[in-house]
Amino acid sequence: MSEDLSGLDTFPKLLLHHARVRGGRPAIREKDLGIWQTWTWKEFADEVRALACGLAEHGFKRGDHMALVCDNRPRAYAAMCAAQCLGGVPVPLYQDAIAAEMAFPIQNAAITHALAEDQEQVDKLLEILPQCPSLKHIYYDDPRGLRNYTQPQIAAYDRLLELGRESHRRDAAFLETEIAKGSGEDAAAMFFTSGTTGVPKGVVLTHHALIDRAAVAAQMEGLNERDVVLAYLPPAWIGQNIFSYAQPFATGYCICCPESAETVMTDMREIGPTYYFAPPRVLEALLTQVSIRMEDAGALKRWLYHTFMGVARRVGGAILDGRPTTLGDRLLYRVGDLVVYGPLRNVLGMSRVRVAYTAGEAIGPDLFKFYRSIGINLKQLYGSTETSVFVCIQPNGQVKPDTVGPAVKGVELRFTPERELLIRSPGLFKEYYKNPQATSEAKDPQGWFHTGDAGYVDADGHLKIIDRVKDVGKLADGTLFAPKYLENKLKFFPYVKEAVAFGHGRDRVCAFINIDMEAVGNWAEKRNLAYSGYTDLASQDAVYDLVRECVEKVNADLAEEPEIANSQIHRFLILHKELDADDEELTRTRKVRRGFIGQKYQTLVDALYGGRSSVHVEAKVRYEDGRTGTFSADLKIRDAKTFAPAAARKAA
């Protein structure tokens, strides 16, 4: 990182720099027709130039907004940069959002141009076109099925590129001038927050904020042009954008776009990224897969796995942190690395990972330790869309499972009396678009951003987040009730996919459970339990017993923690359906919307607290194709054993 990037205060300027300095190095790769295709920085810059000129021909100008409804594709990132070249603001949208959800951002940001990946996305945009008069141009990347669309708004990406190339040949100076006009204080991108509460808000981030944070974190981890990242999470999410746009622009590393969502695992193995990001959910799914496959393995392999995972649990973390261990342990770990950890890392596609981050929600300590113990340098970080991600990062060698590390260079932290975390950082957002009220609520005049997260800084200066301030509640007897903390503990069991805990203002805690279809299904198959689908499996007594064991283990754990020992889970039920973002039960980033679920399933909550042993549920089901049907069933409710708090036991 000795490279001098001062004066390069916008992404387009950085792009031109990389095209000059490392024009022949790979900027972005995409797997197309089974073969990885590489675009060098020079080729990428050429594409961006042509595209920007094309957009200018189509009336895109400074301050305009451009929607990107695409998966991770080189062309989507080229379009993002092209919009920025002209002083416009790209607005990536979640490609799995339904049409109605896209209308708000488009209206709110008065979006004029949009790039859609394929027919599916074009159809959605056309559907909402009548409500979005500002939208004048829709470009599509994949022409399949679109040849006969006659709407005047629609044009192929390739056509735009051609137009741009012509225009660039005629007048090359135009674009240089436009790029030079850009300044670091200009808006660089707008991200709509997933809206855990209320309507989505468009978070406006400047070039300066994004580049500053990207560079600081890259410097801390020593990222350079030889690093490789797999871009596989939705580009509309700030995290993916930082890792696959801001940071490669700040350091010149290469990003790789997988062939499709289903091929990510294979693609990751082929690419072998050196820098990796995964939300806990993905890491959990990977571990579940590994566990299932190990259960299916032969006796010798199972024995090897369990023996050496025991060794890894004991000393793996310490070895990774460089803490002292005995020679015998180090030798044993070496052997384990040869026969278990190495091959495992290889299967996970993580053989070359130098730095891996997880964030987005709290990660189960055992899950976290698992990855670290097999030698993957997984670390936690803390941040949000409003802070350009990087607020806290765990430095190498100082990794604790329950904190998110100390503040990154340039960040100041403070707490309100209610334990709410406040942040001041160069990476803070400029504003919520066209929402001054929300902006002033979130960012006070002194420039402190109110995160809404409750937490504290521990003795080592590491930040620890407990829960959302508004979610931290109290049981009727005054015990602290941190629902997410409980849910996370439950979710660490491979059999539990999702959990929703209730208890604020009540005398005790009860919970909804979603079983993990893959893990429980496999478990059931082994026991010759027949089932016809999720609902059937979820209602079986054997599965209830399985889940009850998990709940009771959590209760035993909780009993050891004095402050929350009373928030043990007394009763639970297994939901008849999987919580789904399409039913608004999860956010698009797949976080549980506790309040909404509590209202929607009010009768179930009442039954839990009413002491009944079953409850009848009638639900409307929405299928993926938009049809609806009704569904009714009797859900069982079970009690779970609770344990006397450790403190009380000692006293007795």
């Binding site: 089974g34 099925g145 006969n148 499709s260």
Partner: protein, 279 residues
């Protein structure tokens, strides 16, 4: 109901890239008997270029026999099959399967006929078999020509894989795939042969609603994108009426109806055959 059906039909035609052209296949007075069992009796119909032509009928109506005749598996005792190649018509009395394949006819099977132990990629590659020109020796030695040819075929196969969205199972042995995906792999293999005429034997049989919808979309896409003429047999009436341009109805080996889905639906003989009639 009728009116809305007609509008969707019209829309479907208006948005098609390939104009339905002149007949490319003509079946004239075909009769087929197995000993004393008459499977087909004097069946005649034609198939036009770029159209989706369905053959329907109750169980045992002779649909699969008809398809097997079209692709040279069965040899009818009477009648002729004529295929157009450019402007020339070629007449067949007893066509062999390899002749059918050489004429650009590919098919899928009702009860999937893939190589279960081979990967999806290899299975689809077998669809290119007829297009391979190199000798066994050249291939074994991996000489320049064999290599170039292999690359070209692999590309064609990858395009089909991309088209049918089965990249994620490219290297998975077919036997491990769920049924719906196997059906798609079979379609992929047929498509890899770049057929002019594609015969689909109950492409939707045994599928759930979502898989059926996917399959419909793929069939329409194949027809639209490659301009492939498609003859399909299907049980699911809803599917047939939605995606085909013209429908032949067989009952007890005889043709009892022929026309657009709307016409066939209104045909009394067809209604009787499907719903039964008081004798």
């Amino acid at each position: 109901m009728r009116e809305s059906d007609m509008t969707t039909e019209r829309l479907h035609h208006a948005t098609r890239a390939q104009r339905i052209g002149e007949p490319v296949l003509s079946v004239e007075g075909v009769s087929l008997a197995f000993g004393g069992v008459k499977a087909l009796t004097e069946v005649s119909f034609d198939v036009r270029e770029h159209e989706i032509r369905a053959i329907i009928g109750p169980n045992g109506a002779g649909k699969s026999s008809m398809l097997n005749v079209l692709n040279g598996v069965y040899h009818p005792q009477e009648g002729t099959i004529r295929l157009r190649d450019g402007t020339d018509w070629r007449e067949f009395h007893d066509m062999d399967s390899h002749e059918a394949a050489a004429m650009g006819i590919a098919r899928t099977f009702q009860n999937i006929a893939l190589f279960k132990g081979m990967t999806v990629l290899d299975n689809v590659m077998t669809g290119r078999n007829l297009k391979m020109r190199c000798s066994f020796l050249e291939q074994a030695l991996w000489l320049g020509r064999a290599r170039r040819e292999e690359l070209a075929h692999r590309r064609a196969v990858e395009e089909v894989i991309d088209f049918l969205e089965i990249q994620h199972v490219r290297k998975t042995p077919v036997g491990r795939l769920p049924y719906g995906l196997q059906k798609r792999v079979e379609l992929a293999r047929a498509l890899a042969a770049e057929p002019r005429l594609l015969l689909l034997d109950e492409p939707m049989a045994g599928m759930n609603l979502e898989e059926k919808q996917d399959m419909c979309r793929f069939i329409l896409d194949v027809n639209d994108h490659y301009g492939t003429t498609i003859v399909l047999i299907e049980h699911d009436m809803g599917v047939v009426m939605d995606i085909s341009d013209r429908v032949v109805v067989l009952d007890y080996g005889r043709k009892i109806g022929d026309g657009t889905p709307g016409e066939v639906r209104a045909n009394q003989a067809v209604i009787d055959a499907y719903l039964g009639v008081a004798h």
